[in-house]
C-alpha cells in the first residue's frame, strides 16, 4: 500500500497569509527530505500559483484558497484550488506556450511548469467553480 500523507491549508489571499503558506510549503517539502534547492522550487511555484489566484480569480482582493500538500514515497505534490474568477471570461485550461513577453502574460504558469517536475491546470468555467493547479516534484 502506498500511503499518501495530506495536509490541507485553508486561507485567504492576503499578503501575509500568502507569505506564510509559501514558506510552509517549502518547510513541508524539507520535512520529507527535499533538498534546499527543491524546497525553493516548491516555494516559488506555490508563490506564483497563489499570486495567480489572487490576481485572476479574485481581482487582487482577499478570496479563499485551499492548498493541498501530499507526500507519497518519492514525490511531493501540491494542488492549489481557488473559487474564481467570479467574473470575467473563462480562460484556456492550458499553460500558454510560448508565453507572450509583449503583454507579459503567461510567465507565472510558465515558471510553475518549468521549475516543477510536473504541473497541470484545470479550469471549471466562469460560474464560480474555480481553478486548480496541480504540480509536484520527485524526491530522490
Amino acid at each position: 500500500m502506498r500511503m499518501a500523507h495530506v495536509v490541507k491549508h485553508h486561507f485567504e489571499t492576503n499578503a501575509i497569509a500568502m507569505r506564510m503558506v509559501r514558506k510552509e510549503a517549502g518547510a513541508a517539502a524539507r520535512a520529507v527530505g527535499a533538498t534546499e534547492y527543491d524546497a525553493g522550487r516548491v516555494e516559488l511555484a506555490v508563490c506564483e500559483a497563489i499570486a495567480n489566484a489572487h490576481v485572476h480569480a479574485y481581482d487582487g482582493d482577499p478570496g479563499p484558497i485551499v492548498l493541498e500538500i501530499t507526500y507519497e514515497p518519492g514525490r511531493f505534490s501540491v494542488a492549489v484550488h481557488d473559487d474564481g474568477p467570479r467574473t470575467g471570461p473563462p480562460f484556456e485550461p492550458k499553460f500558454p506556450e510560448p508565453p507572450d513577453p509583449k503583454v507579459g502574460n503567461g510567465f507565472g504558469l510558465q515558471i510553475i511548469k518549468r521549475v516543477m517536475d510536473y504541473a497541470s491546470l484545470e479550469h471549471y468555467g466562469a460560474n464560480g467553480h474555480g481553478t486548480t493547479v496541480r504540480m509536484g516534484i520527485w524526491l530522490k
Binding site: 507569505r19 534547492y37 516559488l44 508563490c47 513577453p101 507579459g104 510558465q110 518549468r114 521549475v115
Partner: protein, 124 residues
C-alpha cells in the same frame, strides 16, 4: 500589497562608483518587498545618473514574478534614459527564473561584481 506589520526580510543599499551606481539587494524579493525595490531602483534612474546601474543580486534568496516585473519596468525606463543595466549574481533558483522569463536576453547577467566592473571599464 506591502506587509506593513512584519519585520523586514529585505535589505537594500546603494553606492556610487566610477561610471556606475550600484544597488545591493539582499533577502527576499516578493510581492511584499518588490515595491521598495522599485522605489529605490527608480530613484537611481534620474537625469544625472552615471551611465550604468549595477544591480547586485548576489544575496537575494528569493525572487518571484513581482520582482521580475520591477526589474523589467526599471530596465525599460533606464533604457529610455540611455542608461545601461547590469544584473550581478543570483542563486541558482533566482537565475532560473531570470532565464525562464528571458531577462538574460534583455540585459547583461554576470556572476560577480568583478565581471560587472570589467564591463564598466570596457564601456568607460
Amino acid at each position: 500589497m506591502e506587509y506593513t506589520s512584519i519585520p523586514p526580510y529585505f535589505q537594500i543599499s546603494s553606492e556610487e562608483i566610477p561610471y556606475a551606481a550600484v544597488l545591493r539587494v539582499a533577502g527576499e524579493v516578493d510581492v511584499g518587498s518588490a515595491p521598495s525595490l522599485k522605489e529605490r531602483l527608480m530613484g537611481l534612474i534620474v537625469e544625472d545618473s552615471p551611465g550604468t546601474i549595477v544591480v547586485d543580486f548576489q544575496s537575494v534568496t528569493f525572487l518571484d514574478m513581482s520582482g521580475v516585473r520591477v526589474l523589467e519596468v526599471c530596465h525599460r525606463r533606464a533604457a529610455q534614459q540611455g542608461l545601461r543595466f547590469i544584473l550581478v549574481g543570483s542563486a541558482p533558483l533566482v537565475h532560473k527564473i531570470l532565464v525562464i522569463v528571458e531577462l538574460d536576453k534583455r540585459m547583461p547577467l554576470v556572476e560577480t561584481m568583478g565581471e560587472a566592473l570589467e564591463m564598466l571599464g570596457r564601456a568607460g
